[in-house]
Symmetry: C2
Subunit: 234 residues, 2 copies
């Protein structure tokens, strides 16, 4: 068969913007780049797309390499293609952002890559256009979480309402009324109250909830509205 013989060809990589939540603040998993150029500098976890791989497969592979995790929430963010974004050679980057339960990733794997979690607002200097990627990912997360029940992906299987509220407050850098928050969240029908309480962070203890996975699938694309005035955010 014919080929597009004279066409310009480009190295294509994937980069993963990996979010986690430690109960206090939103964090990003970054690695120390292991090869030239910019070896030893901080970077998003990435990798080159291999001949038999789709972009999604490459991104899942890369995420798995770093975290040991599979089947986590991941979506394509944006294709970065500026011809000079990597000074070595033209390289496009298809970026993916994922939300993981920070307690589930395998630290020893992560250690091999010299990975560290950084608070989203205190990331170190990064290579190339990775700061722009992170900026876009943060914006998209805030945008999407204001409408869709996406943040549960960052929490462990069982979590409390105060934990969930903390997460929203952290992401939107705001303070929410707990009465209104719990009413709104519970009114979605997405949460199932457990019998046990989390007793570590308060004397009274807070009830655990689990996600109702079936309803979650169904409501995922629904427009919720967890954040009162998404317009008025800082």
């Amino acid at each position: 068969m014919t080929r597009y013989s004279r066409q310009h060809k480009i190295v294509v990589a994937v980069d993963c913007i990996i979010f986690g939540f430690d109960g206090q603040e939103l964090k990003l998993l970054l690695i120390k780049r292991g090869f030239e150029p910019e070896k030893g500098k901080w970077s998003l976890m990435g990798g080159f797309v291999q001949p038999a791989e789709s972009f999604e497969e490459a991104a899942s592979r890369v995420l798995h390499q770093l975290t040991g995790l599979e089947n986590v929430y991941m979506e394509q963010l944006y294709a970065f293609g500026d011809p000079h974004r990597d000074p070595t050679e033209r390289t496009a980057s298809i970026t993916y952002f994922s939300l993981i339960d920070i307690h589930k990733y395998e630290k020893q794997i992560s250690d091999e890559y010299h990975a560290e979690w950084f608070p989203v607002n205190q990331v170190p200097d990064l290579i190339f256009d990775h700061p722009a990627m992170i900026k876009m990912a943060k914006e998209k997360l805030r945008y999407k979480a204001a409408i869709h029940p996406i943040l549960f992906e960052l929490l462990p299987e069982k979590f409390t309402l105060p934990q969930l509220q903390n997460l929203y407050e952290g992401i939107y850098d705001t303070v929410l009324d707990k009465r209104n928050f719990s009413r709104k969240v519970l009114s979605t029908g997405l949460l199932i109250k457990q019998k046990e309480k989390e007793k570590a962070s308060s004397k009274k203890g807070a009830f655990y909830f689990k996600l109702d996975k079936k309803k979650y699938q169904k409501k995922f694309d629904a427009f919720l509205n967890f954040i009162p005035n998404p317009d008025n955010l800082k």
Copy 2:
């Protein structure tokens, strides 16, 4: 400097999903593909990314080639990268969707490519994964237009409320109450009433409106809510 010498390289193309509205229904501009493989079949307008071009630049160039238009609404949709999506040779496609005023494009240019407008729900057989691209673009348009004042991009500078309502009704395949619709639209403050009326489509005539460009810029990312129950759409 070093190069990623042994890395797999990929031909990268852009494809444009071009929406227009003729006053009656939402349409897509498609071309007859001019080269092998699949020469003569219907296709999205596309082109290969050139060495010095970013993806955005390539997409703008391709759109301009077909329509003669510049500075129209365009946003990146998705990067399609399945290794076998083009049987000739591995080719990634970065897709962009744009909204144009259907009356502004230059028909003679379009004729060179044997381009035609098709109602979005009656597109012919298309090459490769172009049907999936169109499906995604339609979904994104509906999604986005339910929240953001994006559909004005499809209308001429001056338009009437009935025209605008027709557009929303067409895109959501629904019927809206004109009293509630006009109240909601006008309450955004985005529209400036003109003195003239459009007299072609009714005896009484309908007032023209123009977009308040400044407010439009400001409110573009705001969450509006033109469609009563985005959840309950068919």
